[in-house]
């Protein structure tokens, strides 16, 4: 039987292991390397970077990654599809082009930049056309953030990836392309799947979802049985082999650590989903409840029977707005009576902060070591007295000055109980908060374009 198209997921998040993609290229016999760099508010952070450096605004880790594996990818005819472009796909593509030239690969590398997801220049036009841009989660109207959005990007689908590959690109750089659409674009190009073959598009979307978090499907973050994961320090990254009929076989980098089995697969399938009968992506509405998951060999899992329905009429928009400032500080208390010392420190610091009557929107104290994460759900078996407690203070305010004043007050912590050890030197710093503004836009109003660089 002819082997299917093999796609490696080289990255789970921006900041992930930059050596994993190269290893997939060299060792996993892949046809495509896809990499997802973008989280919900990454775009806002990148836009901020771009105001300081107009040539920035993209995921710069792409450069060391490609420095490691671009030549090998060209040599092995592995095409690369990634959303490292962030706010600046063109700038990112040009940096990759410069790298290719440096390697003497100027003729062998065709870089495509996909643009059009950035809606910031078009907000007025969209409002004029009657798009509400209200917050889909809270129902709040756009007027509450009008003029203050830090970024607004539509999640676009696989179409421009298909176009870029058809035009001969072997490195495709996008902005806010939806994570699974990177993979689906490669599959649609290879197999000529039509944009209304919903079951196949859904299968490609599931394949993309399985590999978009990198090592989280190969034994990383394996809640079911993390103790049983072999050689976790050398964990492999995921590879899906997808057939023309939409059959998926999930595996990982050969001779690597980690594991792929039914449980690691199901964990990843359950990650960040809502209604499983209607997983919405720009390309298709996928049904997560019809597929079968079956182990077919060591570190090999087969997924079949995925079904899909027509894509949504709207595209999700990832937007964010500046929402004041926040600050955290950590105070480590040691035995004896670390819990009592931390409690006392909280009491006196809270008293001193309250006395200042500052404009603080929210304050929070956590006693790390005493069930701070699970709170009332912490099992009784874990509630013995620890030798250390970390007292954590967090605050949010519209006023940076107010938080700076709080930071000064927190430095009086040394007047309190003994046993405080410095965890982080200096005063806490107030940093800008970007809050998420999820909204929708009719899909026909988002126009992407592909430019070869």
């Amino acid at each position: 039987m002819k082997r299917g198209v093999r796609i490696g997921g080289g990255l789970g998040y921006w900041g992930d292991d930059t050596s994993a993609p190269g290893r997939l290229v060299r060792e996993a016999d892949i046809d495509y390397l896809v990499m997802d760099f973008l989280a919900e508010v990454t775009m806002s952070i990148m836009r901020k970077q771009m105001t300081r450096d107009p040539e920035g605004g993209y995921a710069t880790d792409i450069i060391p990654i490609l420095r490691d594996c671009l030549a090998d990818a060209v040599d092995r005819d592995v095409r690369i599809v990634c959303n490292a472009g962030g706010m600046n796909p063109l700038g990112c593509a040009q940096a990759i082009r410069a790298l290719a030239a440096e390697f003497g690969l100027g003729d062998a590398v065709v870089v495509a930049a996909v643009t059009g997801d950035d809606l910031m220049p078009r907000l007025e036009e969209l409002l004029d056309r009657g798009v509400e841009l209200s917050n889909t989660e809270t129902g709040a109207p756009y007027s509450t953030v009008a003029g203050s959005l830090a970024s607004a990007n539509a999640y676009v689908g696989a179409d421009p990836v298909v176009e870029a590959l058809e035009r001969g690109a072997n490195v495709v750089v996008t902005g806010r392309l939806a994570d699974p659409s990177l993979t689906l674009g490669a599959l649609r190009y290879e197999y000529g799947w039509k944009d209304d073959e919903w079951d196949l598009l859904a299968a490609g979307t599931v394949a993309g979802h399985l590999i978009e978090c990198g090592a989280h499907v190969t034994g990383g973050n394996h809640q079911a049985a993390w103790q049983d994961v072999p050689d976790m320090g050398d964990i492999g990254f995921p590879v899906v082999e997808v057939g023309v009929d939409g059959r998926i076989v999930l595996g990982k980098t050969p001779h690597s650590g980690g594991l792929v089995d039914e449980q690691t697969t199901i964990e990843q399938l359950l990650y960040e989903i809502g209604d499983p009968t209607a997983y919405l992506s720009p390309d298709v509405t996928s049904d997560w409840t019809t597929m079968s998951v079956r182990e077919i060999g060591k570190d090999l899992v087969e997924i079949t029977g995925v079904t899909g329905r027509p894509c949504p009429a709207t595209l999700k928009v990832s937007a964010a707005y500046p929402d004041g400032y926040s600050m955290t500080s950590l105070f480590l208390y040691s035995a004896p009576d670390a819990p009592g010392r931390a409690r006392k420190a909280q009491e006196i610091l809270q008293f001193r902060i309250d006395r200042l009557a500052l404009d603080i929107d929210e304050m929070r104290w956590d006693h790390i070591g005493l069930g701070a994460v699970h709170e009332r759900r912490t099992p009784q078996t874990y509630t013995g007295e620890p030798c250390e407690v970390v007292l954590r203070f967090a605050a949010r305010s519209a006023s940076r000055a107010a938080l700076k004043r709080v930071a000064v007050e927190l430095s009086t912590v040394f007047h309190g109980p003994p046993g405080k050890t410095t965890l982080s030197p200096g005063r806490g710093r107030a940093t800008e908060v970007l809050s998420y503004w999820p909204t929708l836009v009719p899909r026909e109003l988002v126009l992407t374009s592909v430019e070869l660089v």
């Binding site: 919900e40 359950l270 960040e272 997560w288 701070a372 999820p438």
Partner: protein, 125 residues
């Protein structure tokens, strides 16, 4: 007999804006019925009532799994909440501490450990 969810299931959670989802899957197919019966949306909402404003439940019988969508647990979302675990990754562990009731017949088939071989032996018994 009461057992923590983690004896018969595993979970993964993550953030979706101010919401979080928790997927809970049966460790072996035979536990799916008990999970579905005991782990209702109401039970989960009560368990997280200090944090969630409401909870939806969805069933994935093909994966022997349930998916819970907890509204409001992350405030305005991962970047603005002051909470520890701003992306709700630890909620998967929290739900595994929740104690549910197994029938005597079900309890008799509990594996001696969470080791997968033991669990499978239990299936054949």
């Amino acid at each position: 007999m009461k057992v923590p969810v983690g004896r018969i299931a595993y979970a993964r959670s993550g953030d979706k804006g101010g919401m979080s989802n928790i997927g809970v899957a049966a460790r072996e197919p035979r536990w799916y019925d008990a999970l579905t019966r005991e782990l209702t949306a109401e039970v989960v909402q009560e368990y997280f009532s200090d944090r969630a404003t409401s909870t939806d439940r969805f069933e994935l019988p093909n994966l022997r799994a349930l998916n819970f969508l907890l509204h409001g647990v992350l405030g305005k979302g991962g970047t603005s909440t002051l909470r520890l675990d701003p992306q709700g990754k630890a909620l998967a562990d929290a739900i595994c501490f929740l104690e549910i009731e197994l029938t005597d017949a079900e309890a008799a088939r509990l594996p001696v450990s969470l080791n997968r071989e033991d669990a499978r032996d239990g299936d054949q018994a």
